[in-house]
């Protein structure tokens, strides 16, 4: 009842000066609209650009690097155990690139709660024969389902079907640039020579475009079995295990742990692509800074309008106080006015922000890098809407607080005498 009264007085005061109220509310609406639009668009773009690299990069990659052995034989010889051994001209060992016990490692990874998905991979150097020319390139043997689920493989297929590499025996997906060089189309058969000189005929079932043209000119994908056949290796042969984990930020720690546990090399995404984090962080920071600046400006608008209103309503405040409204009641009335402006202005801002960002989301936007994207990317995350709305309430609260406090301290005697 008491709050009902305060609300009804606040409402009457607001409506008595509805034009001023509207101007203040439009200020909030505008800033929230811009805040929502800016952040949705910026983060949409960020996600897209980061996705270019990050989607295709495993969070942790297990592999065997080509490098000299850490334990040189002389160190294990009992006779030289207590000596400091200097060895010169060490060469990288020709140890296998295969991951030992890959089946067991995959099984144990599947039991790890931090792991979202695992995709095994084989990397094979080959030559693509086109008439008299040999083009150096590589064939990645992949598990096409895992690769699509965790690394968006299917999003980059621009022609044909990626899943066919699993269904059609001896088939291959070619990079767009590579296909152009080979003059190959879907259903054509191309010739691939392995490093060991063996020649295979593979059927093209799809074209792949990553957007990084140098990459597209040399890469091709085949199923794991096909790749194993190319290399003449048994069914357990795998050179890479790509792991996606629940928390990206844990990747360096997890990578270190796996390297020790499985006795192979492990590379985390942060080490592989350190610059992307920074770029997207700065872009998001700038968007927030601009959005919040807009809100603060709107806050000053509300502050001014409330201050003016209080000067105009001095008499009313005095009479309210004389008839038994306490200072805190008066303060509440003006806070209600401020928060009402913030609430409705903010709500309208959310709506307009949604409309404006979905408008931008309809503008055509073609990127060679991402064949699946046809319009500007917008991130419709509820987080920005709730941040925007909370900020509209917080700024109006702060903007209303000082004028309201001033109103609550007005001495009715001075006003009534002074007339």
């Amino acid at each position: 009842m008491k709050y009902k009264l305060i609300f009804s007085i606040g409402k009457s005061l607001l409506l008595a000066r509805w034009k001023q109220t509207l101007v203040a509310a439009v200020g909030v609406t505008f800033s929230i609209t811009m805040f929502i639009t800016l952040l949705s668009f910026m983060t949409g773009l960020n996600k897209l650009l980061d996705g270019l690299i990050l989607n295709r990069t495993p969070h942790v990659r297990l592999y065997n690097d080509i490098k000299p052995s850490k334990d040189q034989p002389v160190n294990s010889a009992a006779a030289y155990k207590d000596y400091h051994n200097f060895i010169s001209s060490i060469k990288s060992s020709s140890s296998r690139q295969e991951i030992y016990n890959s089946t067991t490692i995959i099984e144990s990874l599947q039991r790890d709660e931090r792991v979202v998905g695992i995709a095994p991979k084989i990397f094979a150097q080959v030559f693509f024969n086109a008439g008299t020319i040999d083009i150096t390139g590589s064939v990645n043997g992949i598990d096409v389902e895992a690769e699509s689920n965790f690394f968006h493989f299917n999003d980059y297929i621009i022609d044909g079907r990626g899943t066919d590499i699993k269904n059609v025996a001896n088939s291959i997906v070619l990079g767009k640039g590579l296909a152009t060089k080979l003059l190959a189309n879907i259903d054509d058969v191309i010739q691939v020579a392995t490093a060991k000189g063996e020649i295979f005929q593979l059927k093209v079932v799809g074209l792949y475009q990553s957007g990084i043209s140098e990459y597209d000119k040399s890469v091709a994908f085949a199923s794991i079995t096909t790749a194993q056949k190319l290399l003449g290796k048994p069914a357990s042969y795998i050179t890479d295990i790509q792991i996606k984990i629940t928390d990206l930020n844990q990747a360096p720690k997890v990578a270190k742990e796996y390297a020790g546990l499985y006795g192979c090399d492990a590379e985390d995404i942060q080490t592989a692509n350190s610059q992307f984090e920074t770029g997207s962080f700065i872009r998001t920071l700038i968007s927030y800074a601009v959005g919040i600046t807009l809100l603060i400006v709107a806050g000053f608008g509300i502050y001014n309008i409330l201050n003016m209103m209080i000067y105009e309503k001095m008499d009313s405040i005095a009479i309210l106080k004389a008839t038994g409204f306490s200072g805190s009641d008066v303060k509440k009335i003006f806070m209600v006015i401020a928060l009402t402006i913030g609430f409705f202005g903010g709500l309208a801002g959310l709506l307009f922000g949604f409309l404006l960002s979905s408008g931008i989301g309809r503008i055509p936007f073609n990127m060679t890098a991402l064949p699946t994207v046809t319009t500007y990317p917008i991130n419709y995350s509820l987080v920005y809407y709730s941040i925007g709305f909370s900020f509209s309430l917080i700024t109006t609260y702060l903007a209303g607080y000082f004028p309201s406090r001033k109103a609550s301290k007005i001495d009715p005697v001075i006003i009534i005498r002074g007339k």
């Binding site: 009842m1 005061l13 009313s316 106080k321 200072g327 005697v413």
Partner: protein, 225 residues
């Protein structure tokens, strides 16, 4: 022996700006229930200042103030607001209605604030008081659409809404013409005689004061009679 409604004990008041001046000097008096008291005196004798202290709005004074045998001195602002709401009705020289509200709503506001009756009951009581003062036809008009005399009657209705112990007036007729002054005075007298309403009215209108039950005359911060 009738009941004492309002009691002032040794009230002193100073103005500090620009120099310290004593405006009220040991004011001691009391008002009984049902009395119609007027306070008179020349401009600047401190009668309005006294009224603001008695009304609890001004708390910067020395001495003791009792309303309904309750000490008001040193009470919190919030408690004083409640006292004003419950026990005191105000009528000012300038009518001070809230222009954003209708006449009826203006009368209802202190009643709604008191929150003793439901909104419908407060509305009913407000209408009763408007009828009593013969202005029920103005109920739905906006406060800024009515004449000065009518405004003052609305202000009286507002002062009456919570059945106050005492009605205080600061020159309630000071801004009105002869005819309207007469109407307002008659309303006060009727309240005093028929409803045994206690009234304390500050005025410099000798004709008004002469017709009240008791006159407190002030000179230079002292009560003379």
């Amino acid at each position: 022996m009738s009941e004492i409604i309002l009691q002032a004990k040794n009230i002193n008041k100073y103005f500090h700006d620009p120099v310290t001046v004593k405006v009220l000097n040991n004011i001691t008096f009391s008002v009984n229930k049902g009395e119609f008291v007027s306070v008179t005196g020349k401009s600047g004798c401190g009668k309005s200042t006294l009224l603001y202290i008695l009304s609890t709005m001004d708390t910067d004074y020395e001495g003791e103030l009792l309303i309904d045998n309750e000490i008001m001195t040193h009470k919190k602002e919030k408690q004083l607001a409640l006292v004003r709401n419950q026990k005191i009705g105000f009528v000012f020289q300038f009518h001070y209605l809230l222009n954003e509200f209708s006449v009826l709503r203006n009368v209802m506001l202190p009643g709604l604030k008191l929150n003793k009756f439901s909104e419908a009951e407060v509305e009913h009581r407000a209408m009763e008081r408007l009828k009593m003062l013969g202005i029920q036809q103005l109920a739905n008009k906006n406060a800024n659409q009515i004449s000065g005399g009518e405004k003052q009657r609305v202000a009286i209705a507002r002062a009456l809404i919570n059945d106050p112990l005492i009605i205080m007036g600061d020159e309630p007729t000071g801004n009105l013409d002869k005819k309207n002054s007469e109407t307002v005075f008659n309303i006060f007298r009727e309240l005093a005689t028929e409803f045994k309403q206690t009234l304390l009215i500050v005025t410099h209108d000798e004709g008004f004061a002469e017709r009240t039950n008791r006159i407190i005359h002030m000179e230079d911060g002292n009560i003379v009679t």
